[in-house]
């Protein structure tokens, strides 16, 4: 090597080292600060840190029936006129002091005086009328509209500053329950577009939302009711349940939701019956699933007690209907179908002998992560169905793909069974059967005119008659239609720090009220 070449190489070597240092040193200096991370989530006795499985897709109040939106928005940022007590099932006053049916098709609500929005403006009947109109009659496509009101248009009037009337096309005995889903917003809210930063009357208001990372709510100092104990709530999201649980165990969060029994929350885990029921929804419009015996065989092949015990670790109950015990219409006498693989095999063989193409492959579609142990649940069911003589292929999909099979219009793709998880947030079976059991329900494959008529009759009933009529509807579904093989009434699991006092209830998954959370050593509000 010539001296010149050696010098050249040495110089180059030093240049590389210098360049590396030039890049490294500033990076090291700023190293502790992660780019795209502008807010801290440090612990504070006055701050609740809550970790969710996913980021809310939106904070639009009229989409609050979406679980991941409602859990943040409902009763925290915005409030309804009336709200349902998840423990008793009764409606209670919120922004309305009282309500009454003033004619067969008109309900009148009296507004609570002295309520203000978080922007300081006063809440009155104009705002209430506007909010109902915007949710039900506008074209912005509110989730609450489809979930609660269907195609019905309402005539809403602010009679005076403290009175609002709602007129329905036909008598509606549960209109106040429907109205409990309408979150109140000021008349300054856009009627043409959904909002991302809502103004409400709730005990908290939006502080900041770092999309993809965290969302912070701060106490609304002008709140009309009792001030909540915590000054701030910071929501984060982690897809892995074990990480969510670990955050609470490790003191990085006070609450973690949507955990499975094996996520490692340990003593900090709290199980509670939630609104969710899992089931197989069977497309009875396609052979071989259009044969009642085949659908019955599928129902008989589901080993509910085994699934609940072995896979859900006992957190849940075998289900014989699509609603839980807290719902009007729940039939306490309705037993889950017994697991009977021999009878299932006989029914399939019978159907085959009659020319039903039971060898045709059926797609068993599940949504990844929909509930803990869904993969194993689907595998267990597929195994049982194979033993019964059916050819079943498992397909696990993400939410977007699975939704194509969950909601009308369905793709034309041969016989399908879909694993569904339904949570009735409203407390009345109508919101279940309308969507899942009517012939033309948004999330129903098929039905019968006779069964639709039963549903119609139940929906017009009130009080005890309504309870009994819906119980009959739910009891008759397996006999008249058999679109479902119910699996289990599920339990929710959340992890809770010992520093927080909070009792989850059946509505916690849909509406987690921050004002009900207190320091563990302080008396609970309300």
């Amino acid at each position: 090597m010539s001296p010149a070449r050696s010098l050249q190489q040495g110089t180059r070597y030093r240049v590389v080292v210098a360049a590396t240092a030039a890049i490294t040193v500033p990076a090291l200096v700023t190293g502790c600060s992660v780019a795209n991370s502008s807010h801290s989530d440090a612990a504070s006795p006055d701050t609740l840190r809550i970790v969710l499985p996913q980021e809310p897709p939106t904070l639009e109040p009229c989409d609050a029936s979406l679980t991941s939106t409602g859990v943040v928005v409902r009763s925290n940022i915005t409030e309804p006129l009336v709200e349902r007590n998840a423990d008793t099932g009764y409606l209670e006053p919120k922004l309305a002091d009282s309500w009454e049916q003033t004619s067969p098709t008109v309900w009148t609500f009296r507004i609570h005086p002295g309520v203000t929005f978080s922007d300081g403006s006063a809440f009155d009947a104009e705002d209430a009328a506007f909010s109902i109109d915007r949710t039900v009659n506008s074209s912005i496509g509110c989730d609450v509209d489809g979930y609660v009101f269907g195609d019905d248009a309402l005539v809403v009037k602010a009679v005076d500053p403290m009175t609002v009337t709602v007129e329905t096309p036909a008598a509606d005995p549960i209109l106040p329950l429907r109205i409990s889903f309408v979150e109140m917003v000021p008349t300054t809210t856009s009627s043409d577009d959904k909002v991302r930063d809502p103004i409400g009357t709730g005990p908290y208001k939006v502080d900041y939302w770092d999309h993809g990372q965290r969302l912070s709510l701060v106490r609304n100092d002008t709140y009309w009711g009792e001030a909540p104990e915590y000054a701030r709530a910071i929501y984060q999201w982690r897809t892995e349940g074990s990480v969510r649980a670990a955050m609470v165990v490790n003191g990085e969060a006070e609450l973690a939701t949507s955990l499975g029994p094996e996520d490692g929350a340990g003593d900090l885990g709290a199980a509670y019956p939630n609104n969710e029921t899992t089931a197989l929804r069977i497309d009875g419009t396609q052979a071989p699933l259009d044969d009642y015996r085949v659908r019955e065989a599928i129902d008989l092949s589901v080993n509910r007690p085994g699934i609940v015990k072995a896979l859900f670790q006992g957190l849940g109950e075998p289900a014989g209907q699509l609603v839980g015990s807290s719902i009007v219409g729940f039939d306490p006498d309705l037993e889950p179908t017994e697991y009977d693989p021999d009878r299932a095999a006989r029914l399939v063989a019978e159907a085959k002998a009659d020319g039903v193409p039971v060898d045709r492959q059926i797609r068993l579609i599940g949504r990844t992560g929909q509930f803990p142990k869904i993969n194993e649940t689907v595998e267990v069911i597929q195994n049982s169905l194979s033993k019964a003589g059916l050819d079943v292929k498992i397909e696990m999909m993400d939410t977007a793909a699975q939704l194509q099979y969950q909601v009308r219009p369905y793709p034309q793709s041969g016989p399908v069974m879909l694993v569904i998880q339904h949570g009735n947030q409203a407390g009345d079976a109508q919101f279940t059967v309308d969507q899942y059991m009517r012939s033309d329900g948004y999330q129903s494959y098929f039905g019968t005119p006779g069964f639709d008529a039963q549903i119609d009759a139940a929906e017009n009933a009130v009080g005890e008659a309504r309870q009994n009529a819906f119980a009959d509807v739910l009891a008759n579904e397996p006999k008249d239609v058999r679109q479902f093989a119910y699996i289990a009434h599920m339990n929710g699991v959340l992890a809770k720090s010992p520093t927080v006092a909070y009792t989850p209830n059946s509505a916690t998954g849909d509406e987690m009220r921050l004002s009900e959370m207190t320091h563990a050593d302080a008396p609970a509000n309300g």
Partner: protein, 308 residues
């Protein structure tokens, strides 16, 4: 040198275009985003309006033409979810991934050089066994399992590290450790192999005969010649890191491009997914050019070959 780089740029443009078209088409194959953005009760008219507003009612080739036309004007579309510019979202998330990749590779290179040189210089020593263990670990441990186990041991059992997030300097440790396994293992083996060859070369024996000490022989003679293959592998591993950050970012809630991609896929947020993938592809393209330039800088034979 410039001719060599020019040729590398031209040859890299083809895969970049393949990525551009491929991601666009694959994203559309994942299905219609309508059900994610409209309520279950959406009427056919509302569905049609949503499709028209977002250009989803056109044939795929027409959609692609619109997209390419936008890209030509540096308009990468808007997020379906947030309404924000897709390019802004991708550019905001990318530095966090770069930080992660940079520190991971820095540690991997330092670790690999120290352990690899030591293992090559003292065969069958402790360092040699560590080197073998690292390479086996790199080849066999899934990063997902390592991440979850790391959270369990260090955050839950020992309580010395945060589980996830970006709240403190300690938040870096688990994500970097998870990303570090593979590059450290692979690179250690590469450095060790290259150093074994270099240490037995005639110029090293000559240096020794001239009285050069062990450290000088390793750092000034052998390592310099072993650096070229190690640099190439390090570059490829860095490219892999930028891609591999997807799993790590999702688990640890790291606000980088990988997490943005996952979110965009799950939300069928086509514009954001395309912007994120395109930005990643361009950065990998630039990284490869830099690696080639560095390789050419270190190895005269590469420069000579480019003149042919």
């Amino acid at each position: 040198m410039f001719a060599f780089l020019r040729r590398r740029i031209y040859t890299s443009l083809v895969p970049l275009l393949v990525v551009l078209f491929g991601v666009f088409l694959l994203a559309r194959l994942t299905g219609d985003p309508t059900n994610l953005y409209l309520p279950v009760s959406a009427t056919p008219d509302q569905r049609a309006e949503f499709a028209a507003e977002n250009g989803l009612d056109k044939p795929v080739l027409s959609q692609m033409a619109d997209y390419l036309s936008g890209v030509a004007h540096l308009d990468f579309g808007e997020s379906l979810r947030t309404g924000e510019s897709a390019a802004t979202m991708a550019l905001r998330a990318f530095p966090a991934t770069l930080q992660l990749a940079f520190f991971t590779m820095l540690l991997a290179i330092i670790g690999a050089v120290v352990i690899g040189c030591w293992a090559a210089y003292r065969p069958n020593s402790l360092a040699d066994r560590i080197s073998s263990l690292l390479s086996m670990t790199a080849a066999s441990i899934p990063d997902f399992w390592f991440a979850i186990t790391g959270v369990w041991i260090f955050a839950v059992v020992l309580g010395v590290l945060p589980t996830s997030g970006t709240g403190s300097a300690l938040s870096w440790i688990l994500p970097i450790a998870t990303l570090l396994i593979r590059p450290l293992g692979v690179l250690t083996q590469v450095v060790r192999g290259a150093m074994v060859s270099a240490l037995s070369a005639p110029y090293v024996r000559l240096a020794r005969s001239k009285g050069a000490g062990d450290l000088r022989v390793v750092t000034h003679h052998a390592l310099r010649n072993a650096a070229a293959p190690a640099l190439t592998v390090a570059g490829d591993l860095t490219v892999g890191l930028v891609n591999g950050a997807v799993v790590v970012e999702a688990i640890f809630g790291w606000p980088g491009i990988g997490k943005l991609m996952i979110d965009a896929i799950l939300q069928r947020d086509f514009a954001v997914l395309q912007a994120a993938v395109l930005l990643t592809a361009v950065s990998i393209f630039v990284l490869n050019i830099l690696i080639d330039a560095g390789y050419a800088l270190l190895d005269a034979r590469v420069r000579e070959k480019s003149k042919v």
